[in-house]
């Protein structure tokens, strides 16, 4: 399997006033296509930062990040936005759905940036919503859905544009055990059935077990097992 994500010698330093806080130090990491990777580590270990860098919503202080052969550390903001819309699907801990939009409209959001016809959009949204098992909840607003259902809508939104890579930041962190289990099963299915590459940050060992590979981050350094 070819390498999809190549993180090379990446360092990330945050500046707060005059203080410099190093978050990631000289990290290198390869993620092959079709991988389901779990990044684990205690709070403040830099796992979310690493995830943000790979998904192109943050830029490294030094080093390079290649995703599908593109060095995203070198892209400017608008190119990066376009790149994200084509290649990355996000799943957040707090779902981050638009409260004013229905489940259908939330999932449709990323497609607004494409040139698909209205009909194509509708077909794709309906398809992914049935993948996550919410075809009957399309017209519901987020506040009418349970946490687990909201997260499933978020996953539908993440896969609707058929991205190269799915990024999950503590996708089960805010859910009860049963809902969390459903989400993990769904993610595994996406990986096995739809061949999606997934990188997920979690501090729940049980969640991490769903992944093929687990990487531990501690104080900004990777500790493979």
């Amino acid at each position: 399997m070819s390498t999809l994500v190549e993180v090379k010698n990446v360092t990330k330093v945050y500046k707060r006033d005059t203080m410099e806080i190093p978050v990631l130090q000289n990290i290198s990491l390869d993620v092959p296509e079709g991988e389901f990777l779990a990044l684990m580590g205690p709070s403040g270990s830099g796992k979310t930062t690493l995830l943000n860098l790979i998904s192109g919503i943050d830029q490294p202080t030094s080093g390079s990040i290649l995703v599908g052969g593109t060095d995203i550390a070198k892209l400017n903001e608008s190119a990066l936005a376009k790149w994200r819309s084509n290649h990355i699907g996000f799943v957040f801990q707090f779902y981050n759905l638009m409260p004013v939009l229905t489940a259908f409209e939330n999932v449709e959001l990323p497609l607004l940036l494409t040139n698909l016809s209205k009909k194509e959009k509708q077909q794709r949204v309906e398809a992914v919503l049935s993948v996550v098992g919410l075809a009957d909840r399309m017209d519901h607003y987020p506040k009418q859905l349970s946490g687990g259902q909201q997260q499933r809508v978020a996953i539908a939104r993440a896969i609707v544009s058929d991205p190269t890579l799915i990024i999950g930041d503590e996708p089960t962190g805010d859910l009860d055990r049963k809902s969390a289990e459903e989400i993990l099963v769904l993610l595994s299915r996406l990986n096995s059935e739809f061949k999606k590459t997934i990188i997920m940050v979690t501090h729940d060992p049980h969640a991490a077990e769903s992944a093929h590979t687990i990487q531990h981050l501690d104080k900004g350094e990777l500790k493979s097992n």
């Binding site: 919503i57 903001e77 376009k82 990355i88 004013v100 607004l112 940036l113």
Partner: protein, 387 residues
């Protein structure tokens, strides 16, 4: 078009706030429209002035009279079509209140309706006016306000021309269009002059100003100079100007008041801006995380700014439109309440354009700061924001 829907839905998130903001803007735009209408109504005379009329008055000040004897000489001048004249009678009808104030002018019945073709008086009434010494002609609006009918006697106490005066209504004139002043009372100057002669008043054979109709408006400047040159060495020197300039000089007397009303109208715009900016900044702050999510999904600053500016513009335009629509009936009511204070009280196209223009401007300005903040925010910081 989905963006428009999102804007619309965002607007409904805080219905009360949106409603308050729209109401605030509507009231402010209404106030703005009303103030501008007062300002424009003030200078209506300048707009209504005819290009082919000149006004000749005493050079020192408007209150000094000119000899009646000038009339014949003015008529001889080349380019002069018709010469009429008038005197400001003033006086008091009933009391000195607003309601009972209206212009009372002593005029020449033979010529006045020739030089003011915008006033229409039925032929039989004009004949009556020319024949009846103590007859008067009043404007339609004035007649309606006080319920005056033909045959009524209007008693007026004189001040510049002392004594008690009674004028019999022999005609009611009306304007050819909306800009004509229908609030005046005209009576026969001869009637007044007779009494002045009897009392040996210094005002005998004196008139207030001449109204001169010229053949060619383009010759106005030359004719004005010719008239003033005629009397440069006489005790009563003249100052001749176009009717427009004459009206303008009246308007400029109250320049400071008009200027202050204009200042207030701009302060209103400033207040709208504060209220709207406050609302938009609040909304944008609450949604900063949503904007971060949108940007994460690949939406650009252009989209996010569009959302913020769109909402701002939507509120300002909606409030502005409601305010503007309300301006019409309120102006109407205001004009009806003071019919003789402002002969013509109508919302002008420039007022409408300004109200719309300012609504748009305020909508744009109010969204600049939150747009800038959302555009420059780092996605990572936006996502971290709770609530």
């Amino acid at each position: 078009m989905k963006i428009l829907k999102l804007i619309y839905k965002n607007l409904l998130r805080h219905k009360l706030r949106s409603l308050l903001t729209i109401a605030g803007i509507a009231i402010a735009v209404l106030a703005f429209g009303l103030l501008r209408t007062v300002v424009t109504a003030w200078s209506y005379g300048v707009e209504a002035a005819s290009a082919d009329r000149l006004i000749t008055r005493h050079a020192v000040a408007f209150i000094f009279p000119l000899p009646y004897a000038y009339k014949g000489q003015l008529e001889q001048l080349e380019g002069v079509k018709k010469v009429s004249y008038a005197s400001w009678f003033q006086g008091t009808y009933k009391d000195q209140s607003f309601e009972n104030f209206f212009p009372r002018l002593a005029v020449d019945p033979e010529t006045i309706f020739d030089v003011y073709p915008e006033f229409t008086l039925p032929a039989d009434q004009l004949t009556a006016f020319k024949q009846q010494r103590n007859g008067c002609v009043i404007g339609k609006k004035l007649a309606e306000q006080h319920g005056f009918k033909i045959g009524d006697i209007i008693p007026v106490t004189g001040d510049i021309y002392p004594g008690n005066w009674e004028f019999t209504v022999v005609g009611i004139y009306y304007g050819k269009d909306k800009t004509a002043d229908e609030t005046q009372l005209f009576f026969n100057w001869e009637y007044m002059n007779e009494r002045n002669r009897q009392t040996e008043s210094f005002a005998t054979d004196q008139i207030g100003w001449y109204i001169i109709q010229v053949d060619d408006p383009n010759q106005a400047a030359t004719i004005s100079e010719a008239i003033d040159a005629l009397y440069v060495n006489s005790p009563a020197k003249t100052k001749t100007e176009t009717e427009k300039a004459f009206q303008q000089s009246f308007v400029s007397l109250s320049g400071a008041i008009i200027a202050s009303m204009e200042v207030v109208s701009y302060v209103i715009i400033g207040i709208i801006l504060m209220v709207l900016a406050n609302t938009i900044i609040m909304a944008a702050r609450e949604r900063i995380r949503e904007y971060a999510v949108l940007k994460t999904l690949g939406f650009t600053n252009f989209h996010v700014v569009g959302l913020i500016a769109g909402e701002s513009l939507f509120i300002s335009m909606l409030g502005g439109t409601v305010g503007l629509i309300l301006t019409f009936p309120v102006s109407q009511a205001f004009g009806d309440a003071f019919p003789t204070m402002f002969p013509v009280f109508a919302v002008q196209p420039t007022t409408i354009a300004m109200a719309i223009g300012f609504s748009v401007l305020v909508g744009v300005i109010a969204s600049i700061f939150p747009s800038y903040r959302s555009a420059t925010m780092r996605i990572v910081d936006g996502l971290r924001q709770i609530g």
